[in-house]
């Protein structure tokens, strides 16, 4: 078999992504059709910048979903002859080509990049979502209630923010610290927040419907505590929920570092929205403080929070890349973008592609998120 020209490589790449293109076109067609009924998401189609961001983000999301169909080779299998080969090189045994070349161990760069997207797109949004749960659950009372609670929480938030992030990560993965069980305790506390958040949400909404409240809170507690026991404590009796201890470390550190910033944003928004008449109306109606915070203030703070959520996923992606680069928290052979860049770094002058491909992927994902955030901000400020 012959090596491929650049044009052939591009055609082959486009062909590999076929399931992604189909899903992308379907999603966009349905969205454009119903965009007048889709609220803020629908209005995104009026903003060119937001639309570009959305398309790029959806591309990566679908790539992650269909990764198994997109890849050509197992991302971990090595072919000795393919070490540092250029993009489009044919495999001697004649089973195909390495579309984007081989890395220093003779693995397929393309397949590794695609599988890496899956890892990044699972960890980054999940970690950001947890950070938001923590930040919102603490930020709302700090802003709405104020007083000593606000002083204490803000002080703690500033303390965390003042600590160098990388140093914190290094500490958390150091064996000495890990043996003390600190990451587990931290995970135990941080992972409780989503459960607390949901229980407060249902309780404030349904406290006068006894049965409905019991049902909602019951389901939340059962599922939540079950997942919590598995994810945080690694003690799930049924063995469904579990998390790799390395990953747990990274996850906890990312949540821990992001939560204070979310806390400050939420606190500021709550401080402003608490002066609105509809909040006063809820107070004169006799609503409890958590109802006012979660159902009157939070939905109206959603604009800036959604924008920050997008930006923060991008930030977390970079953070994960950085951590991978330092080899923190990931398995040695893992195809995640950060560690791949680090591995390719040493041979950059001989074969730049093993480092360049994941670097471009990382950049385009973060760019997509930033563009999307810009578009959302622009559209949410309208009307």
């Amino acid at each position: 078999m012959d090596d491929l020209s650049w044009l052939q490589i591009l055609t082959a790449l486009a062909g590999r992504f076929a399931p992604v293109w189909i899903a992308l076109v379907l999603t966009l067609a349905v969205s454009v059709w119903f965009r007048r009924r889709l609220g803020l998401y629908g209005r995104l189609f009026d903003s060119p910048i937001g639309l570009v961001g959305l398309v790029m983000l959806l591309f990566w999301v679908f790539t992650a979903i269909f990764a198994d169909r997109v890849i050509l080779f197992d991302p971990l299998s090595q072919i000795a002859q393919m070490k540092n080969k250029m993009p489009g090189t044919a495999i001697p045994t004649g089973i195909g080509h390495y579309l984007l070349g081989g890395d220093n161990l003779g693995r397929d760069v393309f397949s590794r990049m695609v599988m890496g997207a899956r890892r990044v797109l699972i960890i980054a949004p999940a970690a950001t979502a947890f950070a938001f749960m923590v930040g919102i659950t603490l930020g709302l009372p700090a802003g709405y209630r104020g007083g000593r609670l606000d002083t204490v929480l803000s002080f703690i938030a500033n303390l965390v923010l003042a600590f160098p992030v990388i140093l914190l990560f290094y500490l958390l993965v150091t064996p000495e610290i890990r043996t003390t069980g600190l990451p587990i305790y931290l995970a135990g506390v941080l992972f409780l927040f989503p459960i607390v958040f949901l229980v407060l949400l249902w309780n404030s909404r349904f406290f006068m419907h006894r049965t409905r409240r019991a049902a909602y809170i019951g389901v939340t507690l059962v599922i939540g505590l079950w997942a919590w026991s598995g994810l945080a404590l690694n003690a799930d009796p049924l063995g469904v929920w579990s998390m790799d201890p390395n990953l747990l470390n990274v996850f906890v550190s990312v949540v821990f570092v992001n939560a204070p910033t979310v806390f400050r944003i939420t606190r500021g928004l709550a401080l402003d929205l608490a002066t609105r008449d509809y909040v006063a109306a809820a107070q004169t109606r006799g609503e409890g403080p958590w109802y006012i915070m979660l159902w009157e203030i939070l939905p109206n703070a959603r604009g800036p929070l959604i924008v920050d959520f997008c930006l923060r996923i991008g930030y977390t992606t970079i953070l994960l890349g950085t951590l991978g680069f330092f080899g923190l928290g990931v398995a040695p052979e893992s195809p995640d973008w950060g560690s791949t860049i680090n591995a390719g770094r040493k041979l950059l002058t001989i074969a730049p592609h093993p480092a360049l491909v994941p670097a471009i992927a990382l950049m385009s994902l973060v760019l997509a998120l930033n563009l999307l955030a810009d578009g959302l901000r622009e559209e949410s400020l309208r009307d």
Binding site: D277, A280, A281, Q283, T284, R285, G286, D383
Partner: protein, 703 residues
Amino acid sequence: MSDLLQTQSQTRSQETVTPILEIENLSISFFTRSREIPAVMDFSCTVMPGEAMGLVGESGCGKSTVALAVMRDLGKNGRIVGGRIRFKGRDITEMSERELRELRGSEIAMIYQEPMASLNPAMKIGAQLAEVPALHGGLSKADALARAREMVAAVKLPDPDRILDAYPHQLSGGQQQRIVIAMALMARPALLILDEPTTALDVTVEAGIVDLVRELAETQGTSMLFISHNLGLVMETCNRLCVMYSGEAVETGNVRRVFAGMRHPYTQALFRSIPLPGADKTARPLIAIPGNFPLPHERPPGCNFGPRCQYFQSGRCDAAEIPMHEVPGHDRHGTRCLRFEEIDWAAPPPAKETPPSPPPGEVVIRAENLKKYYESRGGGFGYGQRRIVKANEQIDFTAREGETLAIVGESGCGKSTLAKVLMGLETASEGSVILDNAAIERAPVEARGPGLVSKLQMVFQNPFDTLNPSMTVGAQIIRALEIFGVGTSDADRRERMLRLLDLVKLPRAFAERKPRQLSGGQKQRVGIARAFAGNARVVVADEPVSALDVSVQAAVTDLLMEIQRENRTTLLFISHDLSVVRYLSDRVLVMYLGHVVEIGTTDQVFQPPYHPYTEALLSAVPIADPKVEKTRIVLEGDIPSAVNPPPGCPFQTRCRWKAQVPGGLCETEVPPLRELAAGHRIKCHLPESQLATMQPVIRIAVE
């Protein structure tokens, strides 16, 4: 169109002087990504030297857009698509940016609604004022400062040197607006544009600004374009007016002539919907304008006012665009109505059946010797000096079942604090509030329980803020029903919610809408429905209509009173608008600096003898009726701070009757609340003999 040109050429030949401002067939559009939105269409008006032109209309009618077009400051999306604006004969629409910069600020000056938005908070007043002549007149710094000092004295601010050395935040709202006026006048402009200059101010302060503006127009000969939604204010400040509706001028002419004999149905409808002295809720109720203001891209064919007009004739009024017609026999009086010669303008409005309000019943709510003090600390870390803000000093009143008690006062008088204490958002410092024999003054709202909470409800001031923007209207009313424990099941509460929408005369389909899809008046109706969800005994309405347009105010006021009549609810109506208060309330309570200074039936309060503060308040309210004569009493200074109230009578610093009280009693002793007639009590030291000499402030001249 030819008529219009003809009339204009006629007027031009009559006048030999060139007009200061001449706007001809001006059309302005705003361009959005999807379409062009016409904001002003075919607008013409002329302002002669020394003339004050009032531009009146409801929000969204395009009056501010006209003003901005004169400054050529329409922003990125706005564009003049037709017509001409001539300033002293020069066409503004064709000027270059450079020429415009020379014009703005020196020849044409503009004053906005929010004074603080026009002042640089980081610059001293003197430096800001001196900037103007230095920029436009090339004066030296010392000369400019001297001019600034002169001007500050001219706008009647006490102690000009101190003011020149102050920062904007150190002045009160009224003083700030005077500075803005002084700044606008520094360059001796030929035209002054005032865009709602007093809307953000209190009535007594407004009266002072209005006096100042009138005087300046006389002494300096400045022409003015005065934009306002308040017909009374325009009558007091302008000689000519132009009524706008939905982007068009519908009637123009001499203020007094138009007010005495209007020739456009919209102007007439506007007058019938505002409470003038003589309006009465049972005998001569207000007539709301039916329907809603058309959106700029949904304007009807022909006459824009057609769909809401009682004289509408299909086939004629909606056939073609209607030009401006000259009303014969009047001086430059024009109307955009086809049928103005056929309509009997003197005919009284169609009579409306209103059942008389039932006599008030038992006492429902009683406040005795109520006090609310706030503590504040000066320093940053809580070590500062302890200060006490006496928001409510001494409040006594009772309100009966089915009665409307109006609580009147300017900002800072403590009326909102009183509402908060009643609602349980704050607890009283002293005294008692008794609702149906239960003391509630110490119970915060969380401790009240659904029964008590639903009995005492509130309607808020700002319709754009009282509804949660992210919940549907129906869900918000259902939530109120749930929390008040009304209804047995979800289906039952849904049914009750729909009935509440019927009660406030909103279509049932609105249940599924979000608040942003509703107009201001509709939102306020939802707010009312929510307040009455739990069969409230007492409803506190905090300025419920003051943020609404004039034509909508009447409808919402009527609705509120109708529901009140049916449910025999006690209404505590907080307001600063004495016209509305006189129209709808049974009894009135006047507050000043945390004190009740006068309480009595509406007739007693609005007739002499008055408390001196009530007298000033009554005189300050602008009335849009040329038949009414008013005694002008302009209060000096501002309301003292509640942190540092004056000793003795709270009103003594501004009272014009103080000299009539022997022995300087006013400065040392708080007067007792004494009874003048049955139920009429005032807090004043003035002897009976002096009170008896008081003249009525408002007189209706006999025709």
